[in-house]
Amino acid sequence: MIVSWNWLKDYVPLTMSPEEAVHRLTMSGLNHESSELVGDDIAIDLEVTSNRGDCLGHIGIAREISVLWREALSVPNPTPLAAGPSVHTLASVVVEAPQLCPRYTARVVRGVAIGPSPKWLADRLTTIGIAVVNNVVDITNYVMMECGQPLHAFDLQKLAGGRIIVREARQDEPFVAIDHRSYNLQKGMCVIADRERPVALGGVMGGTATEVTDATTDLLIEAADFAPLSVRTTARTLRLHSPSSYRFERRVDPHGVDWASRRACQLIRENAGGILAEGMIDVTANPTVAHPPIVLRFSQLQRVLGIEVPAEEVQRIVTALGNQDVQMNAKQIVATPPTWRRDLLREIDLIEEVVRIHGYDKIPEDVGVPMASSHQGDSERVLKITRDTLVASGFFEAMTPSLVEKEQSEEFSPWSGEPCLSVSLAMLRGADHLRKSLVPSILRVMQLNESLGNKDPEFFETARVYLPRAGKFPDERFMVTLASTRPFRYLKGVLEALVDSLRHGQCLDVQTWDHAFFAAEQAVQLMLNGQTIGYMGVLDSQTQKHYALRQPVVVAEIDFGSLVPCAELVPQFKPVSLFPAVRYDLNFVVDEAVRWADVAKSVRKAAGDVLDQLEYCETYRDPQKDGQNKKRLLFSLQLRSIARTLTGDQADEVRRSVIETCQQHHGAALLV
């Protein structure tokens, strides 16, 4: 709301500087946005919160100033002289849609001379950035900016039958607004029609057909109250926001309708001449019931605010804000809120009024708040360990949107076969599906970084996926997803380190898994304690092409929820052996089909509890010496007992047992 400094002086003495004024207004609820000199006036832009429709006019702002500076507020009482016949002989109003228009009033002025506005009026409108049109249109705008009640002036002679019908629009009914553009109306919108066609969109904008022109002589002045929700929907649907719709959306003072009408007629008579018809057409569907009085207990001020406010100060504030029938005793104050403050209904509303005028600076910022314990949950702690491990392993944390395009949503998701949930609006270019996996998103991040020339990017993201459940809340699962251009074994190692960091000694297992997204036999289910916790694989070359990735990429996605119970958040000490270790390097020739995990399992079993470390070294192939489809597995074995020094014979015995087992179960031939 832009206000004119000079204009405000009509209602309240401005004894303070503009700087002081905007500061205190800011601190009492009207946030100062900016000020600008316009001629000899100042245009002050104040932000008005949506509950304070009363401050969308100069009088409302002036009232705030009068309360803050303890000055008297003077509001004119317009009493335009009526001289014509009764208004009812000149026009009629039917409200067919009282739910869209609770009150409609009309006055008629005939024989006006359309011309330019007087300078003082034109100047004020110019200051606040409203285009000057002609005296009548300017006056309707002026009165709106004075009291916050929008008005509309119709050319009475162009209103077919001198008749106003307030009704719901018909579907696809055409309407040409003052901006000379055509709109297709829809049901639920409120139109003002004459006998033949819509002539205005109630509360939003007037129409071309009946607009005031230089040739106009007779006016019908509309002052009405339109339903906020319908005005908002109409303005939004048609993208037709106006100062009028803005005010109706925030509700106008139902009792201010008549004042605004009288004020406009008075100014028209003074500045455009004409004769005001006797009386006013007033169609009120539900005469607004006066608000019941509000009881404000003084004890509640202390209870909510933490400070005492003297009773006299409370009384002064409540009264100055325009509350009626203010009565006070030792314990409480009772007051009836004014009609322009539809936001005041409850005791807490009055408490807020008292404190914002009394001043929030009176509330101390150093009271002793009692201490309390706070506990870090298991998930929170496991997430921290997870992030620590991944960051230490060289991964950057990415954050990608939860909503993705339809095609992307179906690219990969091992978690649910149901189609993705979708939302009614797209978040970013077509992104209206709730993702079921972070993998497609993180691969796009990989692609972007590759294309930007960022070398060997590695990323992880921790975020939710949304698995559909018919008619119920979706199953929101937190995922940890990783992508790397390094080899499969490297990413696997990171995940092994992760599960080890959650519980020392804990091992990750894998089970082969076939999925077209991944290269054949290069994908696995990740297993922990016998449970599937996620998936991992090397992208198939088609997949890699789909994401326009230059390098092969390996990705993994883990259901974070399944990691949490596997963590040992308070690790327990296990004694370490004080005795020396014996180390053997072994080199076996085995068939190509032999899997390391099977060999390792046999070795562990054969070595028993003196096995201190089993370390895979490398795989080596020499078809010349070993034959086709053979490979050499090199690994070392470290033996150590917790209870004693292993003798050479004992250690050799274990070694022999390992070699025999490997021969028996895996056809492994030891190379010496």
Partner: protein, 340 residues
């Protein structure tokens, strides 16, 4: 002979030789030590070499390898002693191939996302002030996102164009109307529904509002919100907690001020500013929990009061680190991420 025994003997030999060479005080003692260990005929090293023949054939490669290592270490211990006793410094002559100005071999380290860093910092501070993290779903129903938060049906915030409503099959059935939460206050409702006061929580996470993405807006962003409900909680408590919070975050004496504002779920409602080098900087929104909200979760507003505050993580992070475009956070260019 077992390999283990052989290796143990080798170790013992190396230890003894190094000790004796180091203990030599003149040419004579050094020479007698040399004969004892490195003597061509009777030296202990020579004897050990012969022992190797008794080690099993399969163990021999390993035994040989270790023998060579031990031999080398004894010889270099002798050379060092000799250099020490002949007046030369024990330090080796400089190695012309060593270039200390070559770049170090860096471990590759990743980084947490700057928004995660900001949230963790705020969470830590609030944890010290006794606030425990609470979590809730991102897909919410209208009760938790609106009704219980005192946002009635006709409120502009409920406009279908202001929210991401889920396109579910059960249209018309109010129990299956879901939307992406537009604020983390939903978590407050869930916690209060489940637990009696005292409540002291913070909630944080993704929220969604259909804004066009530009330098300062993104249709998905993060919020962090605090809630304290108990007997005798006042606005002075709110101001004091926020001041402690700001002071801890900024690391110096700061002041807080309240400006009146309007939020459906708090009353009185305020915007919070903190003073930083003579400027007042916007921090977030706050207020006393609206009695309607307390009633909606079955609390008696005559019995308990509470305060709530919330702030946008992106805005705070942008101001803190001088980031000028919110979209950077979701682009994930490593050159951006590695700066924090």
């Amino acid at each position: 002979m077992a390999l283990a025994v052989f290796l143990q003997e080798l170790d013992e030999l190396a230890r003894a030789a190094v000790e004796q060479f180091a203990a030599a005080v003149d040419g004579e003692t050094l020479e007698s030590a040399r004969v004892a260990f490195l003597g061509a005929k009777q030296g202990r090293l020579k004897a050990a070499q012969k022992q190797m023949g008794n080690v099993g054939p399969s163990d021999r490669p390993l035994a040989g390898k270790r023998f060579n290592e031990v031999k080398q270490s004894i010889e270099s211990a002798y050379a060092a002693a000799q250099q020490r006793l002949t007046g030369g410094s024990v330090r080796r002559p400089p190695d012309p191939t060593f270039d200390a100005t070559l770049p170090g071999i860096r471990p590759q380290l990743g980084k947490r996302h700057p928004l995660t860093q900001t949230m963790e910092e705020l969470k830590d501070i609030m944890g010290r002030l006794g606030f425990t993290v609470a979590d809730g779903p991102e897909v919410e129903d209208e009760r938790h996102n609106f009704e219980a938060l005192n946002i009635p049906r006709e409120h502009p915030a409920r406009d279908p164009l202001e929210n991401f409503y889920l396109a579910t099959a059960g249209v018309g059935d109010p129990d299956s109307v879901f939307l992406l939460r537009s604020q983390t206050s939903t978590v407050q409702i869930r916690v209060m529904e489940a637990k009696r006061p005292p409540i002291r929580i913070i909630s944080m996470g993704r929220v969604y509002r259909p804004d066009t993405a530009d330098a300062t807006h993104y249709p998905m962003f993060h919020q962090i919100e605090g809630l304290l409900v108990d007997h005798r909680v006042t606005m002075a408590d709110l101001k004091s907690v926020l001041r402690l919070f700001a002071q801890t975050y900024l690391g110096s004496e700061v002041h807080i001020r309240f400006r009146p504002s309007f939020f459906p779920f708090t009353e009185p409602s305020v915007e919070v500013d903190y003073q930083w080098k003579d400027n007042w900087i916007e921090f977030g929104g706050a207020g006393m929990v609206d009695p309607h909200v307390l009633q909606a979760v079955g609390y008696d507003p005559e019995e308990v009061t509470g305060f709530a505050f919330g702030l946008g993580v992106e805005r705070l992070c942008m101001r803190r680190h001088g980031v000028t475009d919110i979209r950077e956070f979701y682009k994930n260019d490593v050159r951006f991420l590695q700066q924090f």
